[in-house]
Symmetry: C2
Subunit: 275 residues, 2 copies
């Protein structure tokens, strides 16, 4: 840990060891709707965060909307949320204020310059500081006086006709975008390892060439169709199982097609039925 | 337009011209909670989409939660939502099914291979096809029988401990990630143009060098501090106004520091106060 003290317990992982990188805390300033607090808590749990801090929150009843919207975060993130003051956050964290409405240029600095969520992720990756992502009220967001006390500004690019996201949705997008810094392991398997090996794919292309030949296509058609299949698989990144299934299918077809040639020759029949 | 007919009106922009690229439609299969339909409608409007299709939806009352959660999308996306059948969507669109729970490998193909939202964006960028992003029920998502009829699978990477996003939040993340394909113009100004010009930044560094000299620092300290400032500004990408403000500040300081040297010499005083 650096000299800066976030004023709270450092992040620890479930084994009680300090995590390699301090994860951001999420601050919501004067949320009006308990449901949005629940939505934010759920997004935090979905994206690996646990430390929720609330400035002047509404009452969060266990039978109310905050808990109703929180999913499994009702078990930990939400009941462990701290009530704090805005000043405590400013004093103890590197702070990132969020806003849908930015400045247009540097005539004033409350809302400009700003980062997009992707830029924020790239920037936070390079430092290890106790960081707070600060969201404002549903209706009015963070005001200029508040933003002027925060270190950075972040804004989600959205449609110019209607760029104002709902508070819970904005937090979800931002935490999704920061997941690389906060999620240790996702639910998604590593798909790289199951892509078919190149030699298997090449073997498939050989078999597919045999198959094309066995259909009786002329050579220039066969070449075109072989290339078409190469491009198709090249884009699709087939899995090992897909390649082996395809290989089995075409191998069987080729065997039968070649047998048809044999039968046709043996019985002096055409290889394709007469029209 | 290609030969494929999406079976509905092609997307048109507000001027009535066909848009350059067909934007995806959003399909929600058997949503249970009107509020989630409203949240999805709002995310659509935030990220430039308009065409919402619902399979077996609940009643959406104008005084109910769907309209309550939709923000400005209550004016267009929500009232214009179509009721459709799952089969109509399968027949007329390139379909992307969404799920939090993927297969682990290619032992079965209902949920594998899958794309992440970023991979889906990259892939959809390369084609122009009528595309439907299909979301499932709150509780159970899309089932295997439904997914097996859809062309692709997309899953949001989230924390392995709790990867299941709320339906409305999942849709928000996915539509955010696809915004490059769907949002014509964001609310965010182009910040590139307001970064200070390199010659202005270099001029600042010259002035800052003069300032360091005027403080009386020894040369090797000045060099270190000049480089420190160069690195700091290099990372911060200062705006034109910031550079000019800084320049003004240091110019004024330098003037006063040099005057202090003059006064000290004139009156045979030390340039720094005695300890």
């Amino acid at each position: 840990m650096s000299g800066a003290d976030p004023g709270t317990e450092p992040n620890e992982d479930s084994a009680g060891e300090p995590s390699a990188r301090r994860k951001p805390v999420v601050v919501v300033v004067e949320p009006e709707t308990p449901g949005n607090v629940g939505t934010i808590a759920r997004a935090m749990k979905n994206f690996g965060l646990t430390d929720l801090k609330l400035v002047n929150p509404p009452e969060l009843r266990e039978d109310g909307e905050a808990y109703g919207f929180a999913g499994h975060a009702r078990e930990d993130v939400l009941p462990n949320a701290d009530e704090v003051t805005f000043e405590e956050i400013v004093e103890n964290y590197h702070t990132v204020g969020t806003t849908a409405i930015t400045g247009e240029d540097d005539q004033s600095h409350e809302r400009f310059p700003f980062k997009t969520p992707a830029e924020l992720r790239a920037s936070l990756k390079t430092v290890d500081a106790p960081t707070a992502i600060v969201f404002g009220r549903e209706g009015r967001g963070l005001n200029n006086e508040e933003l002027s006390q925060l270190d950075e500004v972040c804004s989600i690019p959205a449609d110019d006709d209607y760029p104002v996201l709902n508070l819970g949705q904005a937090a979800t997008v931002l935490l999704y975008e920061l997941r690389e810094l906060t999620v240790d392991e996702t639910q998604l398997p590593d798909t790289e390892v199951v892509r078919a090996a190149e030699p298997d794919i090449e073997r498939f292309h050989e078999y597919f060439g045999d198959f094309l030949a066995s259909t009786g296509q002329r050579e220039h058609h066969r070449e075109k169709n072989a290339l078409l299949m190469r491009r198709l698989l090249g884009r699709a990144h087939p899995t090992e199982r897909e390649i082996h299934s395809l290989l089995g299918t075409f191998r069987k077809a080729t065997t039968k097609l070649e047998h048809a040639d044999h039968l046709a020759a043996k019985y002096d029949e055409p290889v394709y039925p007469r029209e």
